[in-house]
Symmetry: C3
Subunit: 257 residues, 3 copies
């Protein structure tokens, strides 16, 4: 049986995540379940897409992933199961899936074909995505779940690319993590080791290799665990220290030699 | 082996939930465990009861449920295992169980009969409920855990019913969920599709079928995933937008024709 | 296969905890995983050490524990696997392990010996600790993971002992739990049943056995579930009621007879 990984913005104040787990266990008894995270910013498809991209390479190779950040639940937006190499992704077709580049096939989930009750208008995680993932975990072919569609019709929600101009790179903060680290869209290999980041007029950060090299309360530039450069304060919060937020600009200087 | 589902107000800042899991794994190795939620409002039996009712129909049919919101821990309040159809519920006898209507039998948990050490005065989740659930997961008969009691002696904590008067229904907010949706005690089928909700003098919400139909920042009325009507803001928080709280009144108008 | 328990300060806003789970499942398919808690104060080794000590006795006897609160990640601090009776602890060598007294052996984790890619500078949980735990779960000998070291070279981070002077005990708040209970370093058996705690000039709390004995809003002294005395408010938060924090002093009076 395939393991099932779950990523949502459902939070922890409710039974919502628990019901996803319950439905999977009910429909695929004994399936391994992995919580990839449920504290994502509510309704933020961009953030979900970024987190999915960061986690993706580390998942079991036969994993079925449910990613539900779904402000369009109940409207005409499609629900899809996407084949990506040996893994499968079940999600609303709202751009989350576009974080995963190598999609080779996709179907539109069809509750009638799956023999399900008509889904509610407000909780497709429970009524559609979890039952679909359970079937896939048990070995179903995605084409048993609905009609195939062209993968180039999947909704795109591309993360912004950095803008490179000579010795400078215009970046943007993609994500504020739980430690208050400010993760940008600029990858470590794009900037020289001695480069700096300017994040507000007169405020500049030097690059370090480890959090431990930072002075107390110093805002430093560091390559984070997914390869993106981030502003960080060791044993502190760069978000609090800088008052920067998701979407704010960070300017990187490169040493061209 | 039966799966075990866990619902508590223990939160995520501590090892408390983890220790429940550890005890269950120690006493019932390999048992499937499902987190139904641990971020419930502390000590709020009414809320726990509501969430349990919403999740209940979706649980595996042979599930053992531990529900621990237990401000009376260590006092004379009873600890019980309740049989509900093919499922079992282990909880303090403080009204949580009254969300589950079809109870057919109950025992009072007896640590001596279970061969346990005397429980602490402050953590029966760890010392009594988790070991009891582990035994039930392994196939024990509830009567192995303690004396049978009359189910009509279980403490009741009924959720308030809406008050229907002609074309109006007086409802109340039962729960503020993690998205800031304000869930009332009025069920969708009790109100016509074109009805409105008045939640403060001069403030009224129209009913929609999906979150996506709401205008930006509009507070709308929608039937939530458990069948109850809720006030919601798409990609926003109705709790923030309205400053309403659990227990506040919402007045519904029905179109009688 | 041994079960794996996880304790971190990674929080719930990100994929970080999920990736630990994914790596363990990928490297040790089907291994039982137990979340001991991920909401610990960021970078607070002292707190992690305390929580580990409280949870330790309740873990399965063959458990492999990953404890990652690691502000020194990527620096010269060692990563270790420590044998403690029949259990194993994988952690940075920064004092977390010193909560566990009966260590009998330890190795320094060596990514080359384990055949791993060179770890990142910022996420050893994913790149080193989780793969190491997975190998141990599958039955590896700790000496397969790296060189043995003397256990007396492990970094110590001792929790402060209470200071006993005649009829008074100077204690300190070790931990503020999710309910707002203020957990001190003084154990229940060190103080007579009729003792009191003075936590600010003119503010004193009586000792009770159960939360339910407290008057509404009363700050009481109670022996918590791990044996330490704590200040508590039933159905409320002692942290809010007193404005006390981790590290603040509490003075206990003993009745010597």
């Amino acid at each position: 049986m395939r393991p099932v990984a779950l990523l949502t913005d459902f939070g922890h104040a409710d039974h919502y995540v628990g019901v996803l787990h319950a439905v999977i266990e009910r429909e695929a008894p004994g399936a391994v379940r992995i919580d990839l995270g449920h504290g994502l910013p509510a309704g933020d498809i961009w953030n979900a897409s970024f987190q999915l991209r960061c986690a993706w390479p580390h998942l079991p190779t036969d994993c079925v992933v449910i990613a539900v950040v779904d402000p369009g639940v109940g409207t005409g937006r499609r629900a899809v199961a996407v084949t990506v190499g040996t893994r499968l992704l079940v999600a609303p077709d709202n751009g989350i899936a576009s974080a995963v580049f190598e999609a080779s096939a996709s179907v539109v989930l069809d509750w009638r074909r799956m023999g399900l009750d008509q889904p509610s208008k407000t909780f497709h995680g429970r009524d559609l995505f979890a039952p679909a993932a359970a079937r896939l975990a048990c070995g179903a072919d995605p084409r048993d779940l609905g009609e195939e569609i062209e993968i180039n019709t999947l909704v795109a929600c591309p993360l912004p690319d950095p803008v490179i101009t000579g010795t400078t790179i215009d970046g943007v903060i993609l994500h504020v993590d739980g430690f208050g680290n400010l993760v940008t869209n600029v990858r470590g290999e794009e900037v020289e080791g001695s480069a700096t980041a300017t994040w507000r007029a007169g405020r500049r950060s030097r690059r370090v290799a480890t959090y431990g090299e930072a002075q107390p309360d110093e805002v430093v530039l560091i390559e984070g665990s997914a390869g993106y450069l981030e502003l960080a304060v060791n044993c502190g919060s760069a978000a609090e220290a800088t008052a920067l937020e998701r979407g704010d600009a960070v300017l990187f200087s490169r040493n061209l030699e």
